[in-house]
């Protein structure tokens, strides 16, 4: 952008490129979340937005694992559920009082709290488990899969089977998990009455703060050496291996962080929405998380957040009035975005600039999405061309 001369134009150019653009986007997001939304939305709408923010937390994690790391994870519902159920168990026990038994256990079971429920009476233990359980499961599966170099598609399928198995397990163990109904009817959240609108607003602010913190953390990660490695592993795993790094460790760390985000999102989802059930964690919702990420731009920082919130909002609005239309719309979104716009909405700018023939100043700011040069899956040889920064917009049309 050498032709830029006037100070206004120079400031604009600084704000719309690379680092400046991220800071600007972040400031706008913070302003919208902490000032505009609470001031303009009704309590009901604000609570709805809080729910979307929880889903956006999962999306931030998927952006890291899938967009930056190339791991197509179809089982984030499991981690969402682990965090959510951990929190829900604590809330049920807290509502029942010291030594009390949650109501549904009296209904379905023999009215005895099982041993592994007992530690969840402690708030500290619960908060630790909200993060620790997803991280543990993700690390175990990640180590098992990635160190044995199980290929990309295999990982996607295994993560999906994990989601299916988890949902079936929850439904099957009705006495201790509430079965299909899940856990619901919470009255208080760490001593705060959940029927009080003020406390509901407090939950919104907690969710907004946590989400922004997650975005900042991902930004810091991606600017670190780890972030460089993660993108390198996504694009040319073997080259990274030949350089002496262990791609498996890099992938496991990114996957575990994504799992932790999903767990925290699930834990906040529970008091905000008031229910968690197998329908929130199975195969279908787990893939559902991906559509927002794909639309927003999987390899961008704020794209997954905006995409997830947008999709959740559209789903709520559309499915209220036209339930069947939403399913068609969701299917069409998957097809159109993934097949024809793999970089998501975020790549529309690139596409537009390319059409106009302008040099793209911040092409390097957003790395290309997973290009799928998976040599094993197709039996093809590794692409010998040098792999510089790729424009997401061209991915669908090259090679």
């Amino acid at each position: 952008m050498s032709a830029v001369t006037s100070p206004v134009a120079r400031t604009w150019a600084a704000l719309t490129t690379g680092r400046g653009r991220t800071a600007l986007g972040f400031a706008v997001a913070a302003l919208a979340l902490f000032v505009v939304a609470p001031a303009t939305l009704s309590d009901f709408r604000l609570n709805l937005l809080a729910k979307f923010l929880c889903l956006a937390m999962v999306a931030v994690g998927i952006g890291l694992a899938w967009g930056q790391g190339g791991m197509l994870t179809l089982g984030q519902g499991v981690f969402f559920g682990l965090g959510g159920y951990a929190m829900a168990m604590h809330l049920k026990l807290a509502d029942a009082g010291p030594g009390g038994v949650p109501d549904f256990m009296l209904l379905y079971g023999d009215g005895v709290v099982p041993g592994w429920w007992e530690p969840f009476r402690s708030p500290v233990f619960t908060l630790v488990m909200v993060v620790a359980l997803p991280v543990l499961v993700a690390t175990l599966l990640g180590l098992a899969v990635f160190t044995r170099r199980v290929r990309g598609a295999y990982f996607a399928i295994l993560s999906q089977v994990l989601a299916a198995a988890f949902a079936i397990l929850l439904v099957g163990q009705q006495k201790v998990t509430g079965g299909t109904n899940g856990l619901n009817g919470f009255r208080s959240f760490f001593g705060y009455d959940l029927n009080d609108p003020v406390n509901k607003r407090m939950l919104y602010f907690i969710a907004a703060g946590v989400l922004l913190a997650m975005v900042l953390l991902v930004r810091a990660l991606m600017r670190s050496r780890f972030g460089e490695l993660l993108v390198a592993v996504r694009d040319q795993e073997n080259r990274v291996r030949f350089l002496g790094y262990d791609p498996a460790i890099v992938k496991v760390v990114a996957y575990a962080v994504a799992a932790a985000f999903a767990g925290i999102g699930g834990a906040l989802f529970v008091p905000i929405v008031g229910i968690i059930s197998p329908a929130d964690v199975g195969v279908v919702p787990s893939i559902g998380f991906l559509v927002g990420v794909a639309i927003g731009g999987r390899a961008t920082l704020l794209g997954p957040v905006l995409g997830a919130i947008g999709v959740a909002w559209a789903q709520t609005t559309l499915s209220e009035s036209f339930p069947s239309a939403w399913t068609y719309a969701q299917g069409a979104l998957f097809i159109v975005v993934v097949a024809f716009l793999p970089g998501g909405i975020a790549s529309l700018g690139h596409l537009w600039r390319r059409r106009r023939g302008r040099p793209d100043a911040h092409q390097t700011a957003s790395p290309a999405p997973q290009v799928g040069l998976d040599p094993g899956a197709t039996g093809a040889v590794v692409d010998p061309r040098p792999t510089g920064p790729r424009d997401p917009a061209t991915v669908g049309r090259t090679s």
Partner: protein, 294 residues
């Protein structure tokens, strides 16, 4: 009557259903690396084909036999359409095909819901498939035996096609080394298209025989797709042998674990077993040697 033996037969029966669901997937995933999540919906289409055929042809036995053929065509044509419109432009991004076909699956499910209604519908089984026969002191429903027979016929037909026909040679060449096959004058694109037709057609057949097991609904495919993919992952790609062994191994172990615990625990146990198994054989039970690094 030996309960273990009866569980074994139950496992064989579950395995034959899994095999029919996974056979087409193993074929398309092995050759093109495409992960077709709409495969389950092709099964659903096959099942509804049986329902529609029965509306036209009243005789249950005749309609079942006709449905097997028509179901193959319906599934195959749907697959051909999907390949030609969407997947053919995505072969360089195999992971993304998973999401695109999931979108297709969602749309197909909703179409079925809008056309046939959300409640399940029933297809009458023919008279000669009602009741059970006694094998080794175990009562085995005739429908289950019929499904096993269809699975065996499908595997046999497919392996004859793969081993004996020019098409099969082209398919095997493309799986082993796509570039070399192309260089040798094989149109890999035409081969891909035919493979997709056959693979999706088998899904249609699977859907038809599933109508013998119970009522059918728009989400029929979704219940089988995940297990079918697990079979493909465990079995390894490129050869039918792997899928056959994996389908029956998973079916039987599922039935045996279920016998001593519950169905949900068995599901989780089978998943863990597959992950552990992949520690020892990351490429699955059977795999074609390629010279790729991964």
């Amino acid at each position: 009557m030996d309960p273990l033996l009866s569980q074994l037969f139950a496992g064989l029966s579950v395995g034959s259903v899994l095999l029919l669901a996974a056979l087409g997937l193993a074929l398309t995933f092995g050759q093109m690396g495409v992960i077709n999540m709409a495969h389950g919906e092709f099964m659903m289409a096959g099942a509804y084909t049986a329902f529609v055929v029965q509306l036209v042809v009243a005789d249950a036995g005749l309609s079942l036999m006709m449905s097997l053929g028509i179901g193959f065509l319906v599934g195959g044509l749907l697959g051909l359409l999907l390949e030609a419109t969407l997947l053919s432009r995505m072969y360089h991004r195999p992971l993304d095909t998973l999401l695109v076909t999931w979108g297709v699956a969602l749309i197909l499910q909703q179409v079925a819901r809008d056309v046939f209604g959300a409640p399940n519908v029933d297809v009458r089984a023919p008279e000669w498939l009602s009741g059970a026969v006694t094998l080794l002191g175990v009562q085995v429903p005739k429908t289950r035996l019929f499904i096993l027979l269809v699975a065996v016929v499908c595997v046999a037909a497919l392996s004859i096609v793969l081993k004996q026909t020019p098409l099969g040679r082209r398919i095997r060449a493309t799986v082993t080394n796509r570039d070399l096959a192309e260089t040798s004058g094989i149109s890999t694109r035409a081969t891909d298209r035919l493979t997709f037709f056959i693979g999706s057609g088998i899904a249609g057949v699977a859907g038809v025989v599933l109508t013998l097991l119970g009522s059918i609904g728009p989400t029929l495919g979704r219940n089988y797709i995940v297990d079918a993919f697990l079979v493909v992952v465990a079995g390894g790609i490129g050869q039918l042998k792997g899928a056959v062994i994996a389908a029956f191994a998973l079916g039987i172990s599922q039935a045996l674990i279920e016998f001593s615990t519950t169905a949900s625990i068995a599901k989780v146990a089978v998943f863990v077993a597959v992950v552990v198994f992949l520690q020892f054989r990351p490429q699955g039970i059977v795999s074609v040697r390629t010279r790729s690094l991964a």
